[in-house]
Amino acid sequence: MSSAQPLSRPAARGVVIALAAALLPQLGRLPWWVAALVAGAAAWRLWADRRGQGLPPRSVRAGVTAAAIAGVVWEYGTLVGLEAGTALVSALIGLKLVEVRSPRHARVVILGAYFLLAAEALHRQDLPVALYLGAALWLVTGAWLAAERETPDGGPLAHGRAAAALLGQALPLAAVLFLLFPRLPGPLWGMPEESGPAVTGLSDRLEPGAIGELARSDAVAFRVTFAEGEPPPGQRYWRGPVLTAFDGRRWTRREEQGRGGKPAVGSGGDGVRHTVTLQPHHRRWLLALDPPREAADGVQWAPGGNLLAEGPVREVRRYTVVSQPGARLEPERRPPGAFTDLPPGAHPRARELAGRWRGQSADDGAIIERALAFFREQDFTYTLTPPPLPERPVDGFLFETRAGFCGHFASSLAVLLRAAEVPARVVTGYLGAERRPEQDHWVVRQSHAHAWVEAWLPGEGWRRLDPTTAAAPQRVTEGLGGSLAGDEPVPLMAREGDGWLKGLRGRWEALEAAWDQWVLAFDARRQDSLLEGWGLGDWRWRAVALGFGGLLALGLAASWVLGGPRRPRPDPVRREWDRMGRRLGRLGLSPRPDEGPRDYAARVAAARPELAAAMDDLAERYVALRYGGGDTRRGRAAFRRAVRRFRPR
């Protein structure tokens, strides 16, 4: 029926704009030719509308479509999967733009635009992106209403208002569904492998300068709340991937063969229970206070003692861990010989120094002390911008430049220890945490990224050694900004002081924290704990609550939409006239419904001659405003003043 009606030009433009808004955030991810295809189709469409051109012949359309599908297959190797699927939908929907002639076609494009919004949400969910997606949702919905409108309409603004009203009225119901709809366990099909974009965060290899790179960003890595008090600054080490293999330059993680499961944790110190809200970083590590002892189910353990998720962390993830700072890992089990391996022929000076230490003492503990003293006493500089050492990263750092960042320090100490036959490994993670005064949680940023060393001692286990703090002890207490020189490229939030910019950013981060906490991290576990707190443990009760809440939300929307019968309000000029009439009514001279303003004025003047002049003036003003075309704002204001002044007795 009405689907056969042609789409109006503004509506077609609206559809193009909606698709562009939905596609915009994906542009960096899509192959360039997809974007070109869509842009070309949109441009053709707008040009054709202006010229009144017909469609290109079917063969051309079919040919381009087939080429697009082939292009997706060539680019991704498949049509299935998130990346390929998104590209395919983008290309096909873009081509559909050429054909959009009726509301039915527009509907297809709109539904495709909604899908693209969801596809973007699968990649990024942080607050700015979410706000953009909300705005894009409004745009796409507005375009839909414009396309479905069968009568000439009030322009894009009217559709924008209508879309905002529709989405706003739907919000309570959406909130009820979000809270109460059960979160079914996923994944239903395989998770994609760790994909593409360079995301800030710890990687599973350490190269010289890598940590320094990471520390230039003050993006939030994760947020923590502690069940009881927070640990002292010296214990705020956060354990990330543990690296065990060294090739002369780079430390990597080599899975220990034949061992899985949790490493033993020695005794010493109290447990610290804390809840971490981790930002997506597309790798598997789950950061926790060093060393973690217990974690909720779903969390796996790496042989190095750090925590792993079952797949790459792509969404904000919340988990609770009990750690025991002060305890040591694996006090009983001696690590295999590989932990003292070094590539042959590398770092001759370091080997020589370590060999001397070993010769002078048989005790591993004493060697460790000498190594740390080396870092403390020699004049090392902690800096984000050391001179580069491509040739001999360890020897050059230890004996020549003596300037570097945590990665250099940790790598060199581990090399020294291994050269002295002490089992050693490098642990990467974060050191420190900050809390802004108005918030209840602690924030750990990429600028807190850190690397340190663990050495194994018999009877004790893996002992944490931090050469960076040996050289720059303020790093623990003052953080990055307080331990580097003023001209270092420290990012904004890591710097000392409380500028207004920092305050602004802090407030924004508080919003982001709430967004992460209440929306993004709202998974099955969180929903369970929330609903159980409300007494809705059983699924039947939840279904009842869902139905009831849904009806309530719908009733709220209905009260907005259906409203009550609204008595039409008279216009302001008429109201003033009525007010004057009421005043005269107190004197027995109310206006009769059948008499006009001039007759009324004559009647009042006849009854009360002293009011004649004022009455005539008011009547003339009223007539001029209502019928004489003199309805201006000044005229109305003057009339209002005249009426207020008129007080007959």
């Binding site: 029926m1 509907r107 979410a130 959406a174 979000f178 609204r566």
Partner: protein, 321 residues
């Protein structure tokens, strides 16, 4: 949209149920929740498919934002039901004037939609199928008029029966409709006979005239113009000079008055007779002659003018042989 037809017996029961709910034909109708039906359209099915897909994505990737998007769209679709309903509820329909037509023509039934609310009603469609009039907006506290074109194949009284008022506003996801039965109808005159037609017999009596003959002008004086006087007889020269319109009085002989008699037409069937009588009435009126109509059971004395013509034609329309 494809519409399926129900089997005969089921359809009759459904029609009866709908007729009972519609109630008696009324002078004006107000659409309320008892009369409005609402169902999803094909577009709603497409949206449901999309939402199911989004939900699957959200479950698989455990993504709270996609859940939120899916829920929000679903909630918006549900709220759209309220908007579509509100677009019809409270609308008043009133029959407008209808001009009588001849059998075989199409009667144009005017219906006025009145919107008493402060919110406009948008894209309301009246009628369906061939009679559909296209969507219209009814402004706030205003009205709009639509015309239902109903074919009038037979003479007599035409009641267009119930018609449908529909809307798919705002999102095209749901269709709300209501059946309306107004108390109106129109007279359908018999189709005037076409082609050359023998003249009606003149009234008995002397007179120079012999029936239909234009140009009979025995000037007998002037009188003030009365509504219904043939415009040919108005003295336009005087009007052009700024005077009042005056009509020439013509000495009408008995030959100026016609009696159009049903009984006279032997040899024709009843409908053919009526058809010819109709033609005669039209011709006589056009010629400016006075004419009377005689049907079994009805006699309309001779006269002239628009009202007289309508009276005669209505009598022809209503006649039951």
């Amino acid at each position: 949209m494809a519409r399926f037809r129900l089997p005969g017996a089921l359809r009759r029961r459904l029609d009866g149920w709908i007729a009972r709910r519609m109630g008696e034909p009324r002078a004006q109708t107000r659409l309320d929740h008892r009369r409005i039906y609402i169902l999803p359209t094909g577009a709603a099915a497409a949206l449901v498919l999309l939402l199911a897909g989004l939900l699957l994505l959200a479950i698989n990737y455990r993504n709270a934002l996609v859940y939120l998007l899916a829920f929000w769209l679903a909630a918006a679709a549900v709220v759209a039901i309220l908007h579509t309903f509100r677009n019809l509820a409270g609308l008043r329909l009133r029959p407008g004037p209808v001009a009588p037509v001849f059998a075989g023509d199409t009667a144009r039934f005017r219906v006025t939609l009145e919107n008493p609310d402060a919110r406009p009603r948008l894209a309301v469609t009246v009628g369906e199928g061939a009679a559909e009039t296209g969507a219209v907006d009814v402004p706030a506290r205003g009205s709009a008029e639509r015309v239902l074109a109903v074919p009038a194949p037979e003479r007599g009284w035409l009641d267009p029966g119930p018609f449908r008022v529909t809307t798919r506003f705002p999102a095209g996801l749901f269709r709300a409709w209501s059946w309306v039965r107004l108390d109106w109808g129109v007279a359908v005159y018999p189709r005037p006979e076409a082609g050359p037609v023998p003249a009606p017999p003149a009234e008995t009596g002397s007179g120079s005239g012999s029936g239909a003959g234009p140009g009979q002008e025995d000037f007998a004086g002037l009188r003030r113009y009365r509504a219904g006087d043939p415009l040919r007889h108005v003295v336009w020269r005087l009007v052009a000079r700024g005077g009042e319109p005056l009509t020439k009085e013509l000495a009408g002989g008995a030959g100026e008055r016609l009696w159009l008699d049903y009984q006279v037409l032997e040899g024709l069937g009843p409908e053919a007779r009526l058809s010819r009588l109709c033609r005669w009435v039209l011709d006589a009126e056009r010629a400016g002659l006075a004419y009377g109509l005689a049907l079994p059971g009805t006699a309309i004395p001779p006269a002239r003018g628009e009202r007289h013509r309508h009276r005669c034609l209505a009598a022809l329309a209503a006649y039951r042989p």
